[in-house]
């Protein structure tokens, strides 16, 4: 569902670019997806193609690049990845239903990771996401 909503929003943004004359034709759109967001890439790709097709943008190529999510602790400098967070959450939240809610919360509101995860080295809640935080349009290739 979230994948379809994202696809709808991205295609709407592209349509506005065309409508406003900022680009004449769009050939390719590169979309960066942080692992943290846990997007189902197959559903997302399908959604993009279907929604684009509905608006006469079926010739646009959507390239989806999955980006590893990396975190850095502001207190001790330790760097870790989304995989480390998943392992830690599996240890800490034994109840599978609660763990599912935790992961789905992060899927819908990626910043929810700050509520659920701490630095694996020192336990600090004060850390940054260096890369791979959310979904963003990395590049649009077309004719101006």
């Amino acid at each position: 569902m979230h994948e379809w909503s994202l696809a709808y929003s991205i295609v709407s943004a592209l349509l506005d670019l065309l409508r406003e004359g900022k680009v004449k034709k769009i050939r390719k759109v590169v979309i960066e997806v942080g692992k943290l967001v846990q997007i189902d890439l197959d559903i997302f790709r399908q959604a993009l193609q279907e929604v684009a097709g509905l608006h006469n943008l079926q010739d646009v190529e959507f390239e989806i690049q999955e980006v590893e999510t990396r975190f850095r602790c502001s207190r001790c400098g330790y760097v870790w990845t989304w995989r480390d967070v998943l392992n830690k959450l599996a240890e800490e939240i034994q109840d599978p239903e609660l763990r599912k809610t935790c992961l789905e919360s992060i899927h819908l509101v990626p910043a929810a990771v700050f509520a659920y995860a701490r630095c694996p080295a020192c336990g600090s809640p004060d850390y940054e996401v260096i890369e791979g935080f959310d979904v963003k349009i990395g590049k649009i290739v077309g004719e101006v």
Partner: protein, 245 residues
Amino acid sequence: MLDFRKYAISSAFRRVKKVVAVCSGKGGVGKSFIATGLAWYLKDSLRTGLLDLDIYGFSTHRFLCYVPNLRYESIEEAVPVQIDGLVYFSPVLLIGDRPFPVRGSYREKTVLDILSFVEWPELDVLIIDMPPGTGDEVILPCRYLAEKISTIVVTLPDPISLDVASRLVMLLKEIGVQTLGAVLNMCDSSVNIEKVGDVIVVAKVPHIHCVVSSLAQGRNPYVACPEVREYLKPIVEYVRRLVTD
């Protein structure tokens, strides 16, 4: 960067007729109590929603005596929840009672993500309990919901709170958002203040002992304390007229 969230927000709010954001310059003035009460009483006559956007200090669930179980088949299908006819969303539905230490740009993204993913049903009015202050949390919803949003400012009647509330009123005017009125909380009826900045005071709500005692007993104060309805009546009627006119 191309901003595509505005389309998701517009879609998520497409069935909401009006949005009334309850704001305060300072924290601790009773904004959440007023916002929740406003929503609670409006639902008697209008299809009403309540969105808690106070991501650090979310507390509306406590006034509603609502305890989420955090075990969903699907969050997207489970939220917003219904509480006695009130359509409701709060960060507590995602993270329970954990602290939510989001900083800097993540705060902005959190607000936008919440506004984007919660699909509101047909509503005559959605009340938003805004975070205190005059930063991103206030400006962003006003920007993204510009066509539907108006505000109510809550303040205490002391000079310091009034100063901050007046600055908030100025800011809201500068960003082109209508302020419907001000509510003076913890205020005796004898207090002679009729305006906050250039906004008229539409309700004066005194300290109500029953609210504290009912919360301590785990009871909804809007049900347990009949006098709350009376004190909030002017602001409830004011918003009801705005929505139905």
